[in-house]
């Protein structure tokens, strides 16, 4: 199924219709052919109405959008599985830091630097202590001194890990995967 019956003159009706939809005129055959012309005219009439339909705004009220997003995001944020958490030291027994939260924070730290945006941030905690290895992919502004910038990112991530996360950082690997033009 899916075959389109040709017009009485043998031409493909869908081709005539596509031309009408695109606002292109008929070819030499079409102009003289009553079947093509009729199909074309009918197509044009319908397309005018369809364009108006396409222009009609169809929107949820802003409150409803927020309600839907709220429900979806709450589900996304719930319960953190063991493999999704990093260990935090404490004399009262180990605590946990969601890996995704730590990665988001480190990405924000990179984003705050001029000319760089973090894409992927992978954190590994091989153990036995709580030290982490961070692997970042970043996109950078064209023309940026990459050696200098990546050294800065490295320093900043070391500091953020220690001070904000409370995790010693063992290594920070940075890969520039794309450039954007200012």
């Amino acid at each position: 199924m899916g075959e389109i019956a040709p017009l009485a003159c043998g031409r493909d009706a869908a081709v005539v219709w596509d031309r009408a939809e695109a606002g292109l005129p008929l070819d030499a055959h079409g102009r003289d052919c009553p079947h093509c012309s009729a199909a074309y005219a009918e197509a044009r009439r319908l397309e005018v109405a369809v364009h108006r339909m396409a222009e009609e705004p169809v929107q949820m009220p802003a409150q409803a959008v927020e309600a839907v997003l709220g429900r979806v995001l709450e589900t996304a944020r719930s319960r953190i599985r063991p493999e999704e958490a990093l260990r935090l030291d404490s004399p009262l027994g180990p605590n946990r830091l969601a890996r995704a939260a730590a990665a988001t924070a480190l990405r924000a730290v990179v984003d705050a630097m001029d000319g760089m945006r973090a894409r992927s941030c992978r954190i590994a905690q091989p153990g036995p202590d709580t030290a982490i290895d961070v692997a970042l992919t970043v996109v950078a502004r064209f023309g940026l001194d990459l050696a200098y910038a990546t050294a800065q990112v490295r320093r900043t991530v070391f500091a953020a890990g220690e001070q904000a996360l409370g995790l010693p950082v063992r290594r920070v690997d940075i890969e520039v995967v794309d450039l954007w033009e200012a």
Binding site: R77, I80, A85, L88, D89, S90, P91, L92, G93, P94, N95, R96, L97, A98, A101, A102, T104, A105, A108, Q163, A164, L165, G166, L167
Partner: protein, 86 residues
């Protein structure tokens, strides 16, 4: 003899732990649940405050609160679920 026996339901224990967590500096939000004698407190922390230190402070606060109010010696595990930026 003749003392009052205090029984505190699990849900109440969880509420107390969450309330204690919220009083710790740097904590932006907290909820707790109790599963087999382990009190799990999940918190959001203001980014910039040291997660390890805040988590430990929450553990201390919750443990102390539960001992004082509910007479429970609890094992508390804190999970920092979110770092609130800005």
């Amino acid at each position: 003899m003749g003392g009052v026996t205090l029984r505190v339901a699990d849900a109440a224990v969880a509420s107390m732990a969450a309330a204690a967590a919220r009083r710790v500096g740097g904590v932006v939000g907290a909820r707790a649940d109790l599963a087999a004698e382990l009190v799990r407190v999940t918190i959001s922390v203001r980014f910039g405050d040291n997660c390890r230190d805040v988590a430990e402070a929450v553990q201390r606060g919750a443990t102390q609160t539960l001992a004082e109010l509910a007479g429970r010696t609890a094992l508390v595990e804190v999970t920092v679920a979110e770092l609130v930026l800005r």
